[in-house]
Symmetry: C2
Subunit: 150 residues, 2 copies
């Protein structure tokens, strides 16, 4: 590894599966849109720990992570700054769903009734997720590994 | 997302597949051990761009990314600081393999003849990789998503 410069920020997002759909939150802060629950990974904390913590902080749910889905890193995916997110698929194993912390509202959505506007690149992430659930197919990279396309 | 504190550092590692095995480098810096080529992701650069750049800088090879494999984030995986790595599987599409930049030697290894000592958690990563190549099975998280186990 070379010298260190300015680095992107690692974050996590957690797709929490419930019987009737997935859990989304309405963000309290800008952009005030529906989003997958998530947040920053702290120094000294694994992404898995961050995912469990952020899910609890924002939704009140205790989750068990099922699998790591994909890491999204396009510098344009978040207009505020360069945040890289690792997305986990999880299920709730305890707690009562309620909007907390950065969330002002919470809801359970199916692919058919997703909010019209989602924050950041979360529409893309959920598109990838629902495709994966249906086909088992993860995002291919071979033809996308050119600058700017991620 | 909440307030910002100190964050881990995003890095990439690239498993470059060749006909006779995968490409490893002998690190010039501490730890001076064999390792998967890789390095830091710059601010404003996607992980995919970083992977292509680092592969070229360290091995002289132009690579095409095949798929994103897994992101490893255990805070203990690198004794120097908390580096999170996203691992890509790639193939060389050009260039001549030669040790460059942070690499003092380059080699192609099969699972059977891997170096005895690998830097960081690269033994674990390659174990996961070879298992994946044989079985198609990615790392399950369900039972491992407890603090410290990642």
């Amino acid at each position: 590894m070379g010298k260190q410069y300015r680095n992107p920020f690692p974050t996590v997002d957690i797709i929490i599966e419930q019987e009737k759909g997935i859990v989304l939150i309405l963000r309290r802060n800008e952009p005030q849109q529906w989003a997958i629950p998530g947040g920053f990974c702290d120094y000294g904390e694994s992404l898995e720990q961050a995912a469990v913590r952020e899910a609890r902080e924002e939704t009140g749910l205790t989750v068990e992570l099922i699998e790591q889905f994909h890491t999204y890193s396009d510098p344009r995916r978040d207009p505020r700054q360069h945040n890289i997110t690792t997305v986990y698929i999880a299920r709730a194993i305890g707690g009562t769903p309620q909007a907390q912390d950065d969330a002002q509202e919470i809801g359970v959505f199916t692919e058919a009734d997703l909010p019209a506007e989602l924050a950041f690149d979360h529409d893309r992430i959920l598109k990838d997720y629902f495709l994966y659930k249906k086909t088992g197919q993860r995002r291919a990279l071979g033809t996308r590994a050119t600058p700017g396309q991620t």
